[in-house]
Symmetry: C2
């Protein structure tokens, strides 16, 4: 990539808005001096924030937008503000080639609908997918699709495997990631027809990753697999089941430590060591769900991301741009004969995730 | 129920076999003096165990069986030993009316295949489902299907709702459980056609439970919903994703407490309080996955269940028998007009769960 990596940021999304976005941008600027930023939002608020960081102003361009997509907006409502909102205009910058990626902490359904509608899927790819990092016992794994598609055919699953592997190469630094299809058993006969057909294709052809076959839900967090591939319905349920379980345990653990004077004391003693646990499970350290397979990268930050989390997402966008992840996906898809797309009707079909 | 509740137990299943089974049976006998037991397995081993508990011998009948279903047996292999194995003969006792429920800690796939093949689905019910308890932030919830069916139609999901609600009335003691369909969003337009159709039926008719609509994966453990209904593929993935997450956090927590002298000390101080957390998450305290919808009850204990866990499962079986849970399900299904069954071909179709 010869020209400077350029990222379009929606400054108005998320629970905290411009103050978090600009502080995170300043942090990312220090880490990645090559990065240029186009920042979209309400100009007065943005000016005020940018005034805090003189050096950031040198690599940033502020673009005033009238509208903001609300967290409560339905995708259809948001689409009407595609040309006037900070979210829509950030995606438009990618479409126009001014930026190579767009980042927003706003409404996920709206972001996916807009991204799909405005950028369209890459030639050769039937459907995009939402991919994200998961903490594991060893380091991190990647799972996709987390909810961009309700139902998927074998072709889609193979595409997701290719896209997830390319993502893993960039963000996990793995030359040959281990990729598996999420199923209800590891035996070849298990699961749906779609899964069996996808597995057959992945076994027969030589991909730029290691296909290890089927895997089960408990392997998402075990660290044995790098990329876990599923349809968007299953992936979304698995993601939320994992989140719910983490919340359950955190809640019970908080209660336990508060229970007696002894347990409070115990917490004080163990606090520093427990911090590593909290850090590893902290969504801010794995922030950035990437919408892959479109003509341009669109990344969703957690709505509740703090400065660390949003800076992580900016860094991820920059790495994906510099590594040419999208181009790699295009090349890998072009190299492989895949079965027919199961639907063209996908279009702006209801994206489903809501983080 | 006029005659004494009678349970058929496979003594040879699970990681620990007869020693755990008989000690658990003794404990259950003390709690439930009305219970009669038929215990199947290798007679010499069983005699040796029963000799430890004189009073248990009074309510137990031992039946010698030649064969044992192995954990590694495929369902098709196990089926060939339906008439000679401890697992198969326990189910046969239910079929013959000698017992009202069968309990095994053995191979899940084999148990489901045998139960389906030998007992067949109850008249009016298209497909059985595997249901289990989950710990939540408040108490416990029930989820089904956990893997008896790969794909489900709207009729199946409605049947699962009825069966799960009847299970909840018995084991959670709820008069009007809150039942929801597992989906990727709560809005009516979300999800697959099957889910939307099932929701329409559940909204239109008056059931003996409260249908609260769609729910998401993080609600399995939140305690806001009592019964979470899904197809067996999704339920199985969600169950294992939750298990994997719990294992991840437990692993990280163990590391954290071992890290420094301070954290070891902290653990000592907080140990008693942390025990409540461990107890609530301990699978032994929620043991017993029930295979519902057949002509007789079949319950699967965790293979790793200890005496507490197996005694819990025996108690659950007894309660389900005494409450007439199966009869309630039959009555409730008969009261409701449901759409056509999507397949008769299900038969002994590959059951999928492996605990």
């Amino acid at each position: 990539m010869s020209k400077a990596p350029t990222l379009a940021i929606d400054a108005m999304g998320g629970d905290f808005g411009p103050p978090v976005v600009f502080e995170a941008a300043e942090r990312a600027r220090i880490r990645h001096p090559d990065l240029k930023l186009l920042i979209y939002g309400r100009e007065p608020q943005m000016r005020e924030q940018l005034a805090r960081f003189a050096r950031l102003a040198e690599v940033s361009t502020l673009i005033h937008t009238q509208d903001v997509v609300l967290g409560t907006d339905k995708p259809s409502q948001a689409l009407r503000r595609a040309r006037s909102s900070s979210m829509g205009m950030a995606i438009q910058a990618v479409k126009d080639g001014q930026a190579q990626a767009a980042l927003s902490a706003g409404n996920t359904g709206a972001l996916m609908a807009m991204a799909k509608f405005m950028l369209r899927t890459k030639p050769g790819i039937d459907r995009p997918a939402l991919a994200s990092l998961f903490p594991t016992l060893r380091a991190e794994s990647i799972m996709l699709d987390l909810g961009a598609n309700v139902e998927c055919g074998p072709r889609n699953l193979v595409e997701f495997a290719i896209m997830g592997a390319a993502f893993a190469r960039t963000v996990l630094g793995l030359e040959r990631p281990r990729v598996a299809l999420l199923n209800i058993g590891v035996e070849e006969l298990k699961g749906t027809e779609q899964l069996k057909e996808a597995a057959a294709i992945l076994r027969q052809q030589a991909f730029a990753f290691e296909f290890v076959g089927f895997t089960e839900g408990d392997k998402i967090t075990s660290g044995e697999i790098d990329v876990i591939v599923s349809d968007g319905f299953t992936g979304n349920v698995a993601l939320k089941a994992a989140e719910g379980t983490a919340r359950l345990i955190a809640g019970l653990m908080g209660e336990a430590f508060r229970q007696t004077l002894w347990s409070r004391l115990g917490y004080l003693f163990a606090r520093t060591s427990l911090r590593a646990l909290r850090d590893h499970l902290n969504p801010n350290n794995h922030n950035g769900a990437v919408f892959l397979g479109l003509n341009g990268l669109v990344v969703k930050s957690h709505g509740s991301a703090n400065v660390d989390g949003f800076a992580t997402a900016i860094g991820m966008c920059r790495d994906l741009i510099v590594d040419g992840t999208l181009e790699r996906i295009g090349e890998e898809v072009a190299r492989h004969p895949l079965p027919e797309a199961i639907t063209e009707a996908a279009g702006v079909a209801a994206p489903v995730i809501a983080q």
